[in-house]
Amino acid sequence: MTTVFQVYIGVLFLCCFMCLYRIGRGPTAPDRTVAIDILGIVVVGFCALMAVVTGKDFYMNIAITWALLSFIGTIALAKYLEGRGFDE
């Protein structure tokens, strides 16, 4: 049981490092924006897995907050790419 969860956590770490590579190397700005969005969603899944593994519920609070903030940040970056103000 514990070994299965260790493998799962390792694979999710690998996913996070793939997203970080794309954030660092992405040739254009939208590549980096996509990678930031996907990193936020992967971290939400990671927090849910950690909540189950450790049995503490506050990890789910972190996951909900991370999903909210990641969505707002991604929308702001997309509006910036489009070249508009935030209220249009």
Binding site: P30, I38, G45, M60, A67, A78, E82
Partner: protein, 111 residues
């Protein structure tokens, strides 16, 4: 029994997350990366949250997992659509082997 079903759901979700991130790493173009990344990773994370619900049952953690699932299901396609629209309007080129661009021909990009 609940624990076994939960672990299987975690496995499916993490496999989808892994292949989505691999597509983000390997595909040649912003639009290809977008379609590989957001769909696979959204599906995988939703499966991880379903696994958390099944594993623990309907206590505080499971209800929060359902809340987070509904929120991600609504917001992730919205964010992906906004990113692709912003990328197209900031004149990012398509991959050189792409065959069609309807949005450039008759969409909003015309004006």
């Amino acid at each position: 029994m609940n624990e076994l079903v939960g672990i299987v759901c975690f496995g499916i979700g993490i496999a989808f997350n892994f292949f989505g991130c691999l597509g983000l790493l390997r595909f040649p173009d912003i639009y290809n990366r977008l379609q590989a990344g957001t769909k696979c990773v959204t599906f995988g994370t939703i499966f991880i949250l379903i696994g958390a619900l099944v594993y623990t049952g309907f206590d505080a953690l499971g209800i929060k997992a359902v809340l987070c699932l509904v929120f991600i299901l609504i917001t992730s396609p919205t964010a992906a659509h906004a990113i692709s629209r912003g990328a197209h309007q900031s004149k990012v080129k398509l991959w050189k082997k792409s065959v069609i661009d309807i949005y450039e021909e008759e969409g909003e990009g015309k004006k």
